[in-house]
Amino acid sequence: MIQIQHVSLWYDKTHKALDDVSESIRRGQTVVICGPSGSGKSSLLRCINGLERFQEGRVVVDGVSVRQPGTDIHKLRAEIGMVFQHFELYPHMTVMQNITLAPMRVRKMSRAVAEKKAMALLERVGIPEKASRFPEELSGGQKQRVAIARALAMEPKIMLFDEPTSALDPEMIKEVLDVMTDLAREGMTMVVVTHEMGFARGVADRIVFMSQAKIVETGTGSDFSSARKTKGPASFWNGS
Amino acid sequence: MDLDVVSDNFAFMMGGLGLTVQLAVITIVCGLMLGTLLALARLSSRVWLYWPATAYIHFFRGLPLILVIFWLYFLFPVITGKPMQAFAAAIVSFIVFEAAYFAEIIRAGIQSIPEGQSMAARASGLTGYQTVRYVILPQALRNMVPALVTQSVVIFQDTSLAYVIGLREFLRRVNLVDAREARSVELYLFAGAVYFAICSAGSLASQRLEKRRERMSLA
C-alpha cells in the first residue's frame, strides 16, 4: 500500500531531516512510529502525502508515485486522511462545516449528502450534538475526534496520525485512542506517530523506531517490550 | 543628477542634525518618564488615576502630531500671556504626544507577564514591591525594549515636524538649501538617505533585541 524507498529530505542544505529512509506498509496494517523529538517522525509522515518535498527517493502510495510530475497530488491527498497534534480544525467554521468542506469542494458532493455523512461520522466518534459548535467551544478530546471525523469524511484508504494525543489531558487520551483502535480493527491502513506504548503494543502490527533522521529499529510490540532492558532505544523507553 | 549641491552645502545641512538629535533625545528621555507614570496610572485600580491617564492616552493617540504642535503653540500664550519659543513648543508637544505612545508600550509589556508569575513570587514570600522589582519588571522590560526602540526610531523621524514652526533642524535646512538652489531631486534623496542610515541602524537593533527576546523566552 505504501512504499517508502530511500527517501532523504533536507530542510536546508545543512539540515537533514530524513536520511535514506525505507519502509513498506501493507494494506490494513497499522504501523506506529516513535522516537525522540526532532528525529524526523512528522517529516516522514508528511512525505507520504506529499506535504513535504523530499529531494531523494520515492514514495509510492497505492501504486501512485507521490513526487512524480504527472501525479495529481490533490487527488492522492484526498485518499489519505491526516490528523495533527494540535487538531488544526478551521477556527472560523463550525464542526459541520469543518467536516463537509473537503467532501463538497474536492469530491463535489452536494451539501445534503455531505452533511448526512458528517452526522453519521459524528455519531461514530460520539459527539453528534456538537455539529453546530465552533472548534474553540469543544474540549481537546472532542476536537481531536472531530478532526478524525473530518479526515474520515473523505473515505480515505490510509490514515496518518501525527501525535494525535500528545496535546491532550490524560482523561481525554482514551476517548481518542478508542476511536483509533476501532479504525485499526476495521482494517484501515494507518501510520501513527505516538508515544502511547499501550496503543502501540495492543494495536500496531509493527513499531518503527526513529532517531536522528534514520529508522534505527523495527519490530512488533512484544519485541520492543522485551528489548526494554537491552541496548539502543531502551534508554528512550525508560525515559518516557 | 549633480551631487555638488549636496557636498557644497553638506556642513550647513548636517549642522541641523545636531538639533534633530537633541530634539529626539530629550523627547525620548522625558517621554519615557512621563509614559511610565501614565502606564502605571492606567494599570492602577484607583479610578482617579486610571480615568485621567486613559483619557490622556486616548486623546493624544487620536490626534496628528502636527496638530498637537499647533494647538500647544496657540494655547500656551493664552495660559501664560507670553508667546511661545519655537523650540519649547516643539519639545513640549513632542513629549506630551510621544508619552502617550510610550505609555501603551509599557502597559502592554507589564501586562504580558502572566499572573502566575506574580502569584509564584508572592507565594515564595516576596513583598509586593519585591515582586515587581525582581520578578515582573525585569521580564516586562525585556518584552518591551524592542517596541521602545522602534518607537524611538519613529520619534527620530517625527522630529522633522519641528520644521512647521520654523526650527532649523536637519530637514528644514535641506529645505532652505533647496529654496536657494532648486535641486530637489538630489537634496531630498540625500535627506532620505541620511534618515535611512540612522533609522535602519535603530530598526536593526530593535530586530536583534526582538530575536534575543524570543530565544530567551523559549529557554
Binding site: N49, L51, H74, L76, R77, A78, I80, G81, M82, F84, Q85, H86, E88, Y90, P91, H92, L101, A102, R105, V106, F134, E136, E137, R150, A151, M154, L160 | F59, G62, L63, P64, I66, L67, F70, W71, Y73, F74, V78, I79, T80, G81, K82, V153, Q157, S160, Y163, V164, L171, D178, S184, V185, Y188, L189, A191, G192, Y195, F196, C199, S200, S203
Partner: protein, 241 residues
C-alpha cells in the same frame, strides 16, 4: 496677562467664510486619507505577499520596499513626491503636469501617504499570515484541497479576521498622517485651522475644533470596526503561535 485677557470667539467656526473653509478642509482630509488608503491596501497586500512567497527575488524586493519606506520620515517622502518627482519626468510630461493638474499637491499627498502606508500594511499583512500555524495549511492541503481552495476557504477567512484590528489601526494612522500634507500646501483640516488663525487670531478655537473632528471621526471608525469585528467573531478564537 494670561487667560483672562483672551476672549474666546467660537463663532469663528461657523462664521462666513470660515465655516465653509473648515467643512471643505474636513472633506479634503477624508478624500486624501481614503484615496491614500486605497493605494496602501492594494500595494501593501502585494508587497506583503512578495515577502511571504518562496521566491528569493520577490522577498528581496518586498523587504527593500518596507525598509526604505519605514526608515525615512513621511515628511521627506512628501517633499520628494511634491518637489522632486516631477523633475524626474521628461520635460513635456512636466509641462503637462503643471498645466493640467492644478491640485498637484493633493495628488502628491495621496501618493506619498499611500506608498508610505503600504509599507505598514504590508508588515501587518505578513504578520497575519505568519500567525497562522503551519499545520493549519497542512491540514487543509491534506484533505486534497488545491492551493486556491486552501487560501479561499481556510487561510483567507482566518487571516482576514486576524488582520482586521491592525488594519483599523493602520487606517487611523493614515488618517492622522494626512495632516502632514499641509506642509506641501494641501488645504486639509489642520491646515485650514492654522490658516484661519492668520486672519482672525483665533487659532486656538480652530485647532481645538480640528482636534474634535479627528477624535470624532476616529471614534466613529473605531466603533464601526468594533461592531464588524463582533459580527465576524468566532467564539473563543484565540491566536495560537
Amino acid at each position: 496677562m494670561g487667560i483672562l485677557n483672551y476672549t474666546f470667539d467660537w463663532s469663528v467656526l461657523w462664521r462666513d467664510p470660515y465655516g465653509g473653509m473648515l467643512v471643505k478642509g474636513i472633506l479634503t482630509t477624508l478624500q486624501l486619507s481614503l484615496l491614500a488608503w486605497l493605494i496602501a491596501l492594494v500595494l501593501g497586500l502585494a508587497v506583503g505577499l512578495c515577502r511571504v512567497l518562496p521566491l528569493r527575488f520577490t522577498r528581496l524586493v518586498g523587504g527593500a520596499y518596507v525598509q526604505v519606506f519605514r526608515n525615512t520620515p513621511l515628511l521627506v517622502q512628501l517633499f520628494f513626491w511634491y518637489f522632486a518627482a516631477p523633475l524626474l519626468l521628461p520635460k513635456p510630461a512636466q509641462a503637462w503636469l503643471y498645466d493640467n493638474v492644478p491640485n498637484y499637491a493633493f495628488w502628491a499627498g495621496v501618493v506619498a501617504l499611500g506608498t508610505y502606508t503600504a509599507s505598514r500594511v504590508a508588515e501587518q499583512f505578513r504578520a497575519g499570515l505568519m500567525a497562522i500555524p503551519r499545520d493549519q495549511y497542512r491540514a487543509a492541503y491534506a484533505t486534497g484541497l488545491t492551493t486556491v481552495q486552501v487560501y479561499r476557504y481556510v487561510i483567507a477567512p482566518f487571516a482576514l479576521r486576524l488582520i482586521l484590528p491592525p488594519f483599523t489601526t493602520e487606517f487611523l494612522t493614515c488618517f492622522k498622517n494626512s495632516a502632514l500634507a499641509m506642509t506641501i500646501g494641501v488645504m486639509e483640516v489642520t491646515h485650514t485651522a492654522y490658516y484661519i488663525d492668520s486672519f482672525t487670531w483665533h487659532g486656538l478655537e480652530t485647532t481645538t475644533a480640528a482636534s474634535a473632528v479627528y477624535l470624532c471621526i476616529a471614534a466613529c471608525i473605531t466603533a464601526g470596526m468594533a461592531f464588524t469585528e463582533k459580527r465576524v467573531r468566532i467564539p473563543g478564537m484565540i491566536v495560537r503561535r
